[in-house]
């Protein structure tokens, strides 16, 4: 399986993602934002970080990078594209997934483990995951997902919500929502469910010595589903 991780100026989880993908069997290539063409890939990842310093709206500058046209074409033709954290913000800016990401409700950067409930398994990302709840890790300042009521109805009707913040038993309540996201949304799909944007970082959960191992489960499952 071939994957590509895009490095934007200010990306800082690109190496971590490279390490994770290789660990679970992907042949990964790092791709520079100013390149025009994507290498042949089964998976494209937009990693976390602070592309262009997040000085304009998070992700908006990166969404206009040269490479993004190829990424958009790839996604529109059904290619698997995953945006993590800042990558999710970039996806939102490209319009590949609906909604926006606002500043966290309590106006503070937050770095901690969270639980998320898998809301849909009819997709390459979560198909065959036995668990209903995963322990992931978040580290962001702008992860407060928001969309209009009409959009919300549409994404709910299409089962586009991928994961929601919850407790370890899968209970979805306000108190388990770390950033004020509407409906506790932590990640969403595009209509075709080939594009996934999510705030949590599975690449930081790939080792028992780190924050946990549910990231390993996620990547192992993903590569199997793509085979």
């Amino acid at each position: 399986m071939k994957s590509s991780v895009i490095t934007f100026p200010g990306s800082n989880c690109d190496r971590d993602m490279d390490v994770a993908l290789k660990k679970f069997g992907f042949k990964n290539k790092m791709v520079w934002h100013a390149d025009a063409e994507l290498p042949k890939s089964d998976l494209v990842v937009l990693p976390g970080g602070f592309s262009y310093g997040d000085y304009l709206r998070c992700g908006s500058m990166a969404s206009k990078s040269k490479i993004m046209q190829s990424v958009i074409n790839f996604a529109n033709s059904g290619g698997i594209v995953m945006g993590i954290c800042n990558g999710f913000q970039i996806l939102v800016e490209t319009g590949l997934v609906p909604g926006v990401l606002l500043r966290n409700k309590y106006l503070e950067f937050i770095c901690k483990n969270v639980f998320v409930k898998i809301c849909d398994k009819h997709n390459k990302y979560f198909k065959n995951v036995n668990n209903e709840v995963l322990e992931f890790h978040i580290a962001h300042n702008e992860g407060n997902y928001f969309c209009s009521n009409d959009q919300l109805k549409e994404i709910e009707d299409n089962n586009q919500i991928a994961i929601k913040y919850c407790d370890k038993n899968g209970k979805i309540e306000d108190q388990f929502n770390p950033n004020g996201s509407i409906k506790n949304i932590a990640g969403i799909f595009n209509k075709g469910k080939n594009v996934l944007g999510m705030m949590p970082h599975p690449e930081r959960m790939i080792d028992t010595s780190l924050s946990g191992e549910d990231g390993s489960l996620f990547f192992k499952n993903l590569i199997n589903n793509l085979k």
Binding site: P9, C13, G53, F109
Partner: protein, 729 residues
């Protein structure tokens, strides 16, 4: 502008310093030259009051590759790997403008580390605020935490440990000390020593603006009621540019084009160019018209003294300019050849084809002032005797809850949750333990780091306090299973012109020196921050010690949370019952006098090394050093983190319960061991003559004392976690 004595004094120079300048130059300096002298001769850059004493610190050791004098210290961690690290203060700017002050402090220290070719792998910080009741404290704390997070998070370097304290002596002068560790190959370390004639001098990074002009001079003076006017002297940080600068520099460093490199920190272009030339015993010629400027009509004076951030000065091999420029173009950073090295041993500055400064380098560096300031020796205060009637009404559990909720003991989760502590994917011990630990990427090795200070002990008796801080750092590293290697120090003090403050400095440094010599824990880098005072009131002396240690196999790392019900808990190190200057004495008995706990270096070393032996033999399940709040506070924290209880039986010593549980005697650790290993453990302890007490057994979820008094761990946890959240909400 005409330069005279009055102008010199406005620049923070003393009368006799100004006459010395005129004498050295054999003429009156022009304004640009005066600016350069004032920047190089201020306390911050010249160490004029501290040099004499810093010389006494032990700085060498088998593992030391580079000691003080470079951008940062470097230690050997085997297999051709080395760790570059340093701590630095950014106190004055952070009080004036907490967000930018703290942010640029973090940015500055990371630059010091990657200047040497190392990729930063961990950040730490030691931050100290005024009393929680003081009107500025809350906003300063919020601003500083946001600033540290804002910069470090954007850079993608994890913040893995730190220390926060509150004390009214910081009401008018907070402390913000930032520390960075970087990883480098031993044969790819870069230094700041220029070499060779006619080598191009390159400016890279951000453009130069009018921010931070005279920042270093500001940091060399006390505050008064006009501090708000000093806001323009605070630099503004741009972590995004620094991230690009980091990647571009490391890319250039992979080749062989660099002769020397130096970041532009305090006193900007002035000190970076002069230091490089001075170390290489060369001259340097700079054309200021070539310097990329952010603003128009900047004068030579402003360009030379600007402290705009995210800039580097590089001396390249001839003919490598094109290749280097390509790299910086790729990362969208300015790149300009601004001058060359010369044999004149002078700094010569040109602007609009005119020579605007012409100063022999030795007058700025070797001939800079050095003072043997007057200082007063501190007496060891008399011990207090605890009166029975003062303590008889106290209930241990109530006192414990109060101590756990004390601002200096309580959980700092509110702070460290705002720092990205997991980016880079190698953080195996997060903030909240004895030390932060990161793996050396792609290996089995791990690096432990902690930062400590004990201002109260240093204030009560500077010599003992200085020793104690080094020992505490030693203990924190050992508690996670790391072998301590070296330290960096950030020496925060009041005015050196005040005999008492100077005495505190001299004796703390002496204490640090004695302990680091004895423990073979040398000082490889550091920074001095004087004039931490508003008007006449100085801070409590606060030397902060950043310690670094190595864990050969990260799987043997130890954490502090209790692991298993039924396991035995031991205390190693003797409890004599020293209550003076303890948190208990100061906050429960309201007794602020008396000596700090005595430091016995033999016991420190012996207890620590013996614990490392136990860890090497896989006999330790969890460990934690005993510090503020004594044995029971240490045990309670292990219980809270492990969500397990303990049944404590006080050993039948002569001292009373209160003294046993709350004393802050040094050299002690709490250990959790498996019951079946008891004989093996005690054999090793006895063989090494280490005193130990059997303290109790781990239970489900309550803390019992002598089978009677009890409290749930949830209740203790609430006491520990709620104070800071409530304070900040």
């Amino acid at each position: 502008m005409i330069v005279n004595e009055r102008v010199a004094i406005d620049h923070g120079l003393k009368k006799d310093e100004y006459s010395k300048i005129c004498e050295l130059l054999k003429r009156t300096p022009n304004i640009t030259e005066l600016g350069i002298f004032s920047a190089m001769w201020n306390e911050h850059c010249s160490y004029k009051s501290s040099k004499l004493h810093l010389k006494k610190l032990p700085t060498k050791g088998k593992k030391v590759i580079q000691g003080p004098g470079e951008n940062a210290g470097v230690i050997d961690i085997e297999d051709n790997d080395a760790i570059v690290f340093k701590i630095e203060s950014h106190n004055h700017p952070s009080f004036i403008e907490p967000y930018q002050g703290a942010a640029t402090g973090v940015g500055g220290i990371m630059r010091d580390v990657f200047t040497m070719g190392a990729r930063p792998i961990a950040n730490l910080n030691s931050i100290h605020f005024g009393s929680p009741q003081h009107k500025k404290t809350k906003n300063l704390l919020r601003g500083v935490v946001h600033g540290i997070g804002g910069y470090g998070n954007c850079m993608g370097v994890p913040t893995i440990a730190g220390q926060t304290s509150f004390d009214s002596s910081y009401n008018g002068n907070i402390l913000v000390n930032a520390m960075t560790l970087g990883l480098v190959k031993k044969d790819k370390i870069f230094y700041s020593k220029a070499a060779g004639l006619n080598k191009p001098v390159i400016y890279v990074g951000s453009k130069t603006g009018r921010d931070g002009i005279h920042g270093a001079s500001m940091a060399s003076a006390s505050f008064d009621e006009k501090i708000e006017e000093k806001k323009p002297t605070v630099q503004v940080g741009d972590p995004f540019t620094e991230k690009l600068l980091l990647e571009a520099c490391l890319e250039l460093m992979a080749g062989d084009s660099i002769i020397a490199i130096q970041d532009m920190g305090a006193a900007g272009l002035t000190s970076s160019s002069i230091e490089m030339a001075s170390k290489g015993n060369l001259g340097i010629e700079i054309n200021l018209n070539k310097v990329p400027c952010r603003e128009t009509k900047m004068t030579p004076y402003e360009i030379m003294l600007s402290e705009s951030q995210e800039r580097m000065l590089i001396i390249l091999e001839n003919g490598k300019e094109e290749r280097a420029k390509k790299i910086f173009d790729k990362w969208n950073l300015d790149f300009a050849v601004i001058g060359k090295t010369t044999g004149s041993k002078k700094i010569e500055i040109y602007f609009d084809k005119e020579r605007v400064a012409d100063i022999p380098i030795n007058t700025l560096v070797e001939n800079s002032p050095m003072y043997d300031r007057k200082w007063k020796k501190a007496k060891l205060p008399k011990k207090n005797r605890i009166k029975k009637e003062d303590i008889k009404h106290l209930k241990i559990i109530d006192v414990l809850k109060k101590i756990l909720a004390n601002p200096n003991v309580c959980s700092k989760e509110w702070i460290w949750q705002q720092y990205d502590h997991t980016v880079m994917g190698d953080t195996i011990q997060k903030p909240g333990g004895d030390a932060g630990v990161v793996r050396v990427h792609g290996t089995n090795k791990a690096i432990a780091a902690s930062v400590d200070s004990s201002a109260v002990y240093c204030w009560a008796h500077p010599l003992t306090g200085g020793k104690q801080v080094v020992c505490e750092s030693f203990r924190n590293l050992i508690s996670v299973g790391a072998k301590p290697i070296a330290i960096t120090n950030c020496l925060n003090f009041g005015s050196p012109e005040n005999e008492e403050n100077m005495g505190e400095f001299v004796e703390c440094v002496q204490g640090i020196g004695e302990a680091s010599e004895y423990l073979k824990f040398p000082v490889v880098s550091g920074n001095v921050s004087f004039y931490n005072q508003t008007k006449d009131e100085g801070i409590k002396p606060t030397p902060a010690i950043g310690g670094v240690g190595l864990i050969k196999d990260y799987k043997n790392m130890i954490t502090m949370e209790f692991k298993e019900v039924g396991n035995l808990v031991l205390v190693i190190g003797k409890t004599e019952g020293h209550i003076d200057q303890s948190l208990f004495a100061r906050n429960i008995l309201d007794e602020k006098n008396g000596p700090p706990p005595e430091v016995n270096l033999f016991n420190e070393k012996n207890n620590g090394e013996t614990l490392l032996k136990l860890i090497d033999n896989n006999l330790i399940k969890s460990a934690h050093d005993v510090s503020l709040g004594g044995i029971i506070t240490a045990v309670a924290k292990m219980s809270i983190k492990g969500k397990k209880g303990i049944n404590i039986i006080k050993p039948k010593y002569l001292i009373n319960e209160v003294e046993y549980f709350f004393a802050e005697d040094q050299g002690r650790y709490i250990l959790e061991i498996n019951r079946k290993d008891f004989k093996k453990v005690t054999d090793i302890l006895n063989k090494n003559a280490v005193h130990f007490d059997e303290l109790g057994t781990i239970t489900e979820n309550e803390l019992y004392i002598n089978d009677k008094t009890k409290v749930t761990i949830d209740e203790l946890s609430t006491s520990n976690k709620s104070w800071l959240n409530k304070f900040m909400s």
